[in-house]
């Protein structure tokens, strides 16, 4: 049997894999990109970032239409055509994945549809066919964690099936109050489900600033979402009428639901490619460890994206993809930053980067905090925004920003200024002396800086 050869092969065509493949092609390598999916884009485009954001947009429109009742404008109850909504979302996804196919073609990337696994340090098998390669990149992403001991039942979904929009259940339970769980709650609550979130940790959005999370928590409750934190699901009973989740902890009792979404995290897919055959180290959780240059312990094999562990975010995958391609071409690339922004596209949005105050305290890092409440932001009030906050954690000596959290409309977009500020080593004064347009939400960042410096006149 003839052996195919790939100079540079990328396993997985998610945001990490395709970015890597395209960058490598731009740098002049002969690139093969392998993925079993019909469309490029991985989890992010097909069943993650993009479809979720499309449905979150729909949810926001529903909510906004309801809110403007106070402004004397009413549209009546929304009529939701689920098929049409699903088609719209699928159309957006298709548009983007087709775009990727075009970009791959233009770069003469050889796209191979199939499942790859290693057979040796320079050998692969793709759907039974033998391949050899010079350099390889593992970019096979992650999969939703399945809780053990749960029954097999069509009404138990993961995030992927939830985004398929099969139906709007009357009662929806979401197990896991992390970013994905909260986004699902935001979507289905707007579509009309009675949503209950069950989170094991003390707060929803674990890892985010507690004060900001409190604001989100309260708003979700106002939207009708029931939240049980510090609570564990110990048993699931499936009957014809409903799924019954017995809970223990802060909430003791049973939650009955017509559908349940498991959103308890994602596990790395490292095992899917049999990395041991190539000598690549993998841990029990399926994570393949890499250094800042994205190299694994084997010199000619890189790994990028979710398969390399937390934080499992598309923009990290993309940056790692570029690094791997550059390093493979002999350039001095590296992902040398701790500032990877996190965004929950809830309503309001919750976005943060760098240190939160609690972590700074825990690690004994000297820090101070400055807040600007959005109740004092003209733009926020004038555009119907509710509670929100811009919160900066800074070094009391140098006045450099150590971390930032924003809760409020468009927080995800606003955060970019602070990520750049931190990468540039900007001080509070740098931000305060930068003219921010009025009235904008971005002003709240300048205001929080001015407040810390004692130069604020808007509070």
């Amino acid at each position: 049997m003839a052996v195919n050869h790939a100079e540079f092969v990328v396993l997985g065509a998610g945001p990490g894999g395709y970015a890597c493949a395209f960058r490598a092609a731009d740098l002049g390598l002969n690139v093969t990109l392998v993925d079993p999916r019909a469309d490029l884009g991985g989890v992010c485009l097909n069943e993650g970032c993009i479809p979720s954001k499309a449905l979150l947009h729909a949810a926001e429109v529903i909510r906004e239409a309801r809110h403007v009742g106070d402004w004397g404008i009413s549209f009546g109850e929304p009529k939701i055509d689920l098929n049409k909504l699903r088609e719209k979302k699928n159309g957006i996804v298709k548009h983007l994945t087709d775009g990727l196919t075009g970009l791959a073609k233009r770069r003469k990337v050889n796209v191979v549809r199939g499942t790859a696994s290693f057979t040796g340090p320079t050998g692969l098998e793709i759907d039974g066919a033998a391949w050899s390669f010079d350099q390889a990149v593992i970019a096979v992403g992650s999969s939703p964690v399945r809780l053990p001991g749960w029954p097999d039942d069509e009404r138990i979904w993961d995030s992927g099936s939830a985004l398929e929009l099969r139906q709007v259940p009357k009662r929806l339970a979401i197990v896991g109050g992390g970013i994905i769980g909260l986004e699902m709650a935001t979507i289905y609550a707007a579509l009309g489900s009675n949503v209950t979130i069950i989170e094991f940790m003390e707060q929803i959005a674990p890892g985010a600033d507690a004060e900001a999370v409190r604001i989100l928590h309260d708003v979700l409750q106002q939207q009708g979402v029931i939240i049980h934190t510090g609570t564990k699901v110990v048993e699931v009973k499936a009957t014809k009428a409903a799924l019954g989740l017995s809970c223990e902890g802060v909430f003791d009792g049973e939650v009955k639901a017509d559908a349940v979404i498991q959103a308890v995290g994602r596990s790395a897919n490292g095992h899917l490619v049999n990395p041991q055959a190539a000598g690549v180290a993998i841990d029990a959780r399926g994570i393949i460890a890499v250094d800042a240059t994205c190299r694994t312990n084997v010199d000619n094999i890189f790994a990028i994206g979710d398969v390399t562990g937390n934080p499992m975010l598309a923009h990290r995958a993309t940056h790692q993809g570029h690094v791997a391609a550059e390093v493979a071409c002999g350039h001095a690339g590296a992902l040398d930053t701790d500032f990877i922004p996190s965004v929950a596209y809830t309503s309001p949005e919750l976005a943060w980067v760098g240190l939160i105050a609690a972590t700074a305290k825990e690690r004994g890092i000297p820090h101070k905090v400055s807040r600007f409440p959005w109740a004092a932001s003209g733009r926020n009030l004038a555009s119907g925004g509710g509670d929100g906050m811009t919160k900066l954690v800074y070094d009391p000596d140098t006045k450099r920003i150590l971390g930032a959290t924003i809760i409020g409309r468009n927080a995800g977009e606003l955060l970019a200024e602070l990520v750049l500020a931190m990468e540039m080593g900007a001080t509070l004064e740098d931000i305060a002396l930068t003219v921010h347009a009025h009235p904008t939400l971005s002003e709240t960042i300048a205001f929080a800086s001015e407040r810390a410096l004692g130069t604020l006149t808007d509070l």
């Binding site: 350039h331 001095a332 690339g333 590296a334 040398d336 930053t337 701790d338 140098t398 450099r400 990468e423 540039m424 080593g425």
Partner: protein, 292 residues
């Protein structure tokens, strides 16, 4: 996160040039690094400041103790290091007959006592230098930072390097050409005394035409002073000594003062320096000429 601040593109450049930013920052004594720092730091280990040469654990060779460099001394050290690296300096050596000055000084002694002024040889040398600068205007000048323009000064201020317990300072006597010997002598006495107590005001320093550094009271036969930028030259003086001088028939015992003129060779060439010094030597030998 590291304590060194550098923007992402600067970090990328450092990676490319294989420069460790932590080390570069330490070498430069800074916490913020720019593109220029990294570009310069790449030109070789010596440019990365060469401080590695001083990075030695001396205690491995025997007992040692440490003493901090005062802020004052650190600033002076930086200025001297910059002057030494940036100025291609040459030192011209000569000596001048001070018998006439000494005779004159002795004659004026009673009057000096009456005035309460200490009339030193230095006062004469300052006055002579002012006269020489008037004669050679290109020595009373400064080069622009870009090296494209020479600024000629229409005033004559002379800096006097003063040694004090705090370190070196250079108070400046203004408009020396317009002052008489008594006034100059009084100025020197006043500034030198106040320098000992660090009471010279900032506006009494800087702006000199040239500096005199006088080790005559201590000793030595010659040295190579470092030009005090932005001045073009510095005059070093060591101890006058009775020297046998051949007068054509026999050796005469003559008190001669050694003069060392370090100058910025970018502006002043060797022949001009020799002419300038010869002129100065003649003025000192016959101070009446200062008047002419």
């Amino acid at each position: 996160m590291s304590d060194v601040t550098a923007s992402p593109s600067v970090r990328a450049l450092a990676r490319e040039k294989q420069i460790d930013l932590e080390i570069l920052a330490k070498d430069l004594g800074r916490t913020t690094l720019t593109r220029e720092d990294v570009a310069a730091g790449a030109s070789g280990p010596a440019a990365a400041d060469g401080t590695i040469y001083w990075d030695v654990d001396h205690s491995q060779y025997g007992p040692v103790s440490e003493e901090p460099m005062s802020r004052f001394a650190q600033v002076a050290a930086q200025n001297l290091a910059a002057a030494q690296t940036l100025i291609p300096a040459v030192t011209h050596h000569d000596r001048a007959d001070v018998s006439a000055i000494e005779t004159f000084r002795k004659a004026l002694k009673p009057e000096a006592e009456a005035r309460g002024v200490k009339l030193t040889g230095l006062a004469f040398q300052v006055k002579a230098l002012a006269r020489a600068l008037k004669e050679f205007p290109r020595f009373n000048a400064s080069l622009s930072a870009d090296g494209k323009t020479l600024t000629l000064k229409h005033y004559i201020h002379i800096g006097i390097a003063v040694d004090s317990p705090f370190g070196l300072s250079v108070p400046v006597i203004r408009d020396v050409d317009k002052k008489g010997l008594w006034e100059i002598a009084a100025d020197i006495g006043d500034l030198a005394a106040r320098a000992q107590e660090r009471k010279v005001r900032p506006n009494e320093m800087g702006g000199a035409s040239m500096t005199i550094t006088n080790l005559g009271g201590i000793g030595g036969t010659a040295f190579s002073p470092i030009v005090n930028p932005p001045e073009l030259a510095i005059l070093g003086i060591t101890r006058a000594e009775i020297t046998p001088i051949w007068d054509g028939e026999m050796f005469q015992p003559v008190p001669m003062v050694p003069l060392d003129l370090s100058y910025d060779h970018r502006v002043i060439n060797g022949a001009d320096a020799a002419r300038f010094t010869t002129y100065l030597v003649n003025l000192i030998a016959d101070p009446r000429r200062i008047m002419v």
